[in-house]
C-alpha cells in the first residue's frame, strides 16, 4: 500500500531516503498522502506516551515527537514532527495496522523470511530469538523483516510482505512478498524441536504479538476473526531452537 509523503524539509527527505530506501517507489499512485511539517524540539512533551484516538475514520495520533491527523476517507493526513526518522516510522505502523485490521491482515511482532518462494513467520516476545533466527539465515534466504511482519489476506491465502520497520539488525527487509507456509512461535532450546500448535494456541500466539494501537472494540473483534481464520489456514508450530545455523536446515 503506497503512502505519499510530502515535505519541503531537505534534512527530513534525506533521513527518509536512508530509512525507507528499498521501499521508495515515486512512480506509484499513493493510497494515502501525508503532508509533513518539521517543527523544533520542544514543541511537544518528549515524554508523552503514544495516543491513538479515532472516530468515523478520522484519527489523531500523538507522541513525544509528533502530532498527526489522518482521515481515512479523505485519504489524507498531516504530520507535525521533530526532525527524526522514528516519528514517520510510527505513524506508518499505526496507519498500516488500522488499514490492515479492516482488510483481514495485521502487523505482527515477528521476523519473516522467504525460502524457495515460501514465507515463514517467526514470532514471540522480545528475547525469544526473532532477530537471532534472522541473523542466522543462510544466503538463499531473503529476509522480509527482523522485527515487524506485514501479513495480508489475498484470494490465494495469507501472504507476508517485506517491511522497512527495522529492529536490532537496523536494516530494512527486502521489498517483496510470498505466500505464508508456516507460523513458528519461538522458544530457546538445546536442540531444534518442533511441536504442532493447536489452532487455538496459534490464535493466542497471534493475538499476543499483533501490533494494534487503537482502543477500538469493533476493530479488535475483527482482528480476533482474522487470527482465527489465519490459524485455520496456516500451520503453526512451537519451535524450540538452538541458536546456531543448523536451525535453518529444518526450515524449508
Amino acid at each position: 500500500m503506497p503512502v505519499g509523503l510530502n515535505t519541503t524539509d531537505t534534512s527530513l527527505i534525506k533521513l527518509l531516503e536512508k530509512r525507507f530506501g528499498r521501499f521508495l517507489s515515486p512512480d506509484r499512485i499513493p493510497a494515502f498522502t501525508f503532508d509533513i511539517n518539521v517543527v523544533s524540539d520542544g514543541t511537544f512533551d518528549p515524554d508523552a506516551d503514544l495516543q491513538v484516538r479515532g472516530a468515523n475514520g478520522r484519527w489523531t495520533l500523538r507522541r513525544g515527537d509528533f502530532l498527526a491527523e489522518w482521515d481515512a476517507r479523505q485519504r489524507h493526513g498531516w504530520i507535525r514532527q521533530t526532525l527524526n526518522p522514528y516519528a514517520i516510522d510510527s505513524v506508518l505502523r499505526i496507519v498500516h495496522s488500522l488499514v490492515l485490521a479492516t482488510e483481514g491482515g495485521f502487523l505482527l511482532h515477528a521476523s519473516s523470511a522467504v525460502r524457495d518462494g515460501q514465507a515463514f513467520l517467526f514470532t514471540g516476545p522480545s528475547g525469544s530469538g526473532k532477530t537471532t533466527i534472522a541473523r542466522l539465515a543462510p544466503a538463499d534466504v531473503t529476509l522480509l523483516t527482523d522485527e515487524i511482519s506485514y501479513v495480508r489476506r489475498t484470494a490465494e491465502g495469507y501472504r507476508a510482505f517485506g517491511t522497512p520497520f527495522a529492529g536490532e539488525l537496523g536494516e530494512s527487509g527486502e521489498n517483496r512478498s510470498a505466500p505464508i507456509a508456516a507460523l513458528l512461535r519461538l522458544d530457546w532450546g538445546r536442540d531444534n524441536v518442533y511441536d504442532r500448535l493447536t489452532p487455538a494456541a496459534a490464535v493466542q500466539a497471534l493475538m499476543r504479538n499483533i501490533l494494534f494501537f487503537a482502543d477500538d472494540r469493533s476493530l479488535t473483534r475483527h482482528l480476533l476473526d482474522t487470527a482465527c481464520d489465519f490459524a485455520a489456514r496456516v500451520p503453526a508450530f512451537r519451535l524450540a531452537f538452538a541458536p546456531d545455523a543448523r536451525v535453518w536446515n529444518t526450515i524449508a
Binding site: 493447536t198 489452532p199 487455538a200 490464535v203 493466542q204 480476533l224 482465527c228 485455520a232
Partner: protein
C-alpha cells in the same frame, strides 16, 4: 453444595477454533483458551441451565468422569472464569441480553 446459574459475560468476544473456545476480554484484552470440557461448560452457560444440570447432563453425560470429581472441577473452573470476569454466577436464573451462537461473538469487545 448450593446450585447456581452461570452466564457468559457480555464483555467478551468468543470464537470456537477447532473445538476449543478462545475468549477475548474487552476490559483488558486478555485471551483465554478453554479445553474441550471448559468449552462444553461455556456453551451451556446460558444463564438458565443450573450448574447441576450442566455437570450431570453435559459433563458426566459426555465424559467418563464421576459426579463428585466433575462437580469439583467444574466449580473450580467456574470460579476461575468468574474471577477473570468472563463468566458470572447467580442463585437466580440470569437473563442474557444476547444469546450468541457457538461460533459468534457474545458482544462487547
Amino acid at each position: 453444595m448450593n446450585d447456581m446459574f452461570v452466564a457468559r459475560s457480555e464483555r467478551v468476544a468468543a470464537r470456537k477454533v477447532a473445538g476449543e473456545m478462545v475468549i477475548l476480554s474487552a476490559d483488558d484484552s486478555s485471551l483465554y483458551v478453554l479445553n474441550g470440557v471448559g468449552t462444553a461448560v461455556w456453551d451451556a452457560a446460558d444463564g438458565r441451565t443450573p450448574l447441576s444440570a450442566i455437570v450431570d447432563d453435559i459433563i458426566c453425560g459426555e465424559y467418563d468422569i464421576d459426579r463428585e470429581s466433575a462437580w469439583h472441577d467444574v466449580q473450580e473452573f467456574v470460579d476461575a472464569l468468574v474471577s477473570y470476569g468472563v463468566l458470572r454466577t447467580s442463585a437466580e436464573a440470569i437473563r442474557m441480553d444476547s444469546t450468541p451462537s457457538k461460533s459468534q461473538a457474545s458482544g462487547g469487545v
